[in-house]
């Protein structure tokens, strides 16, 4: 048994991954896109081969280093160039406009109305209240963002004077 070696390798893997993530910037694997997520899984999976000494520390470091470096470079390129960004992250999908699902756009992403209904419910929009929705987008992270029709918005603080006048205060 070489328990102390496993302990050393675990600590080594921890430090290497921590250093890589700190060096590459917090948004590199945490932008919330599907690819970031899978990449984080891959980096995690690469540790176990090191722990059981199936690969050397050098190969582990090269492997996770190159993956992180590639992702950092691609993220940086996406920051400079809109085209690269579209290529790697995709574009937001306008799924609902003025209460109506946009069938062609949804089909392109293989999302049906049930999925749209679910995403809206998760944003607090009931199935019978779609007409409140001016626009619903599925963002590149896969999460929905909802903008309501002007009349369905919550009044904002800037409108408080109008409201006070209205009620005579």
């Amino acid at each position: 048994m070489e328990l102390h070696r496993i302990a050393v390798r675990a600590a080594f893997a921890y430090v290497v991954l921590l250093a890589l993530l700190r060096a590459s910037g917090k948004r590199t694997v945490a932008q919330g896109t599907a690819f970031d997520f899978v990449l984080a899984l891959v980096l995690g999976d690469m540790v176990d081969d090191l722990l059981w000494a199936e690969v050397s520390a050098a190969r582990f470091t090269v492997g996770v280093g190159v993956l992180t470096l590639a992702h950092t470079l691609v993220s940086a390129a996406a920051g400079w160039s809109e085209r690269v960004d579209r290529l790697v992250s995709g574009t937001p999908l306008a799924a609902v406009a003025h209460g109506a699902p946009r069938a062609a756009a949804l089909r392109a992403e293989r999302m049906n109305r049930h999925e749209v209904a679910r995403m809206l419910r998760q944003e607090g929009v009931a199935d019978e209240d779609w007409r409140d929705v001016r626009e619903m987008c599925v963002e590149v992270s896969g999460r929905a963002s909802v903008r309501r029709e002007p009349w369905a918005e919550t009044p904002r603080r800037e409108e408080a004077p109008r409201l006070r006048r209205r009620w005579g205060r």
Binding site: A34, F35, F37, V38, L39, L41, V42, G44, D45, M46, D49, E54, V55, S56, A58, R59, V62, G63, V66, L67, A70, G90, L93, H98, G99, A100, R107, A108, E109, R110, M111, N112, R113, H114, E115, V116, A117, R118, R121, Q122, G124, A126, D127, E128, W130, R131, D132, V138, V140, S141, G142, E149, P150, W151, A152, E153, T154, P155, R162, R166
Partner: protein
């Protein structure tokens, strides 16, 4: 510490990076880890395959085949779910109501193996203070809980307080037949 092997590891890592990027972009928004509980599992599967490729435990060709088949299965699955012929109910499940009109639904909770404490915790996370505020809370197919509030517990809308906004709302409601989810959604 064979330098040739280190270079090969680096090259394989680059190759795998490009391959994963292509696969995930090809799968689109309805992709791994974003929609249902099973999507999460697919992401884990892909991740497990990939690290073996980087280390050269499996050849590039073998890895590509495995990833391509998993991706193709996931892609077909998404089309089957899209064609609304009941397959989405089989492949993805359907939402389970856990609260209706302020009352916990025991059968729904049992079906999701949640106890009332779990349900209340989920509702608190969504800002619900009292069960009475909830018209309908469901466990959705991605495992998240959605909460629809009673009318009286919903945030006020401009149409409720401004006359011109109310007129706009009435015009919008009179205007189109749209505005409701399809039956059974």
């Amino acid at each position: 510490m064979d330098p040739h092997e280190l270079v090969m590891t680096a090259l394989r890592a680059v190759g795998v990076y490009v391959l994963m990027l292509a696969v995930i972009r090809a799968l689109g928004k309805r992709t791994v880890g974003n929609f249902t509980a099973f999507d999460l599992l697919v992401a884990l599967m892909l991740g497990e395959v990939v690290d073996e490729i980087v280390y050269g435990d499996v050849g590039m060709a073998q890895g590509v085949v495995a990833i391509a088949v998993i991706a193709a299965a996931q892609y077909s699955n998404s089309w089957l779910s899209y064609w609304d012929h009941g397959m989405d109910r089989v492949l993805e499940g359907k939402p389970t109501a856990i609260v209706r009109d302020g009352a916990l639904q025991t059968d729904g909770l049992r079906q999701e193996r949640m106890n009332p404490k779990d349900a209340l915790a989920e509702l608190r996370l969504q800002g619900v203070e009292d069960l009475g505020e909830v018209r309908l809370a469901q466990v959705e197919v991605d495992g998240q809980v959605s909460v629809i509030r009673q009318d009286w517990a919903s945030p006020v809308q401009k149409a409720d307080v401004f006359d011109e906004a109310a007129r706009e709302r009435d015009r919008a409601r009179a205007g189109g037949a749209q505005g409701t989810a399809p039956a059974g959604a």
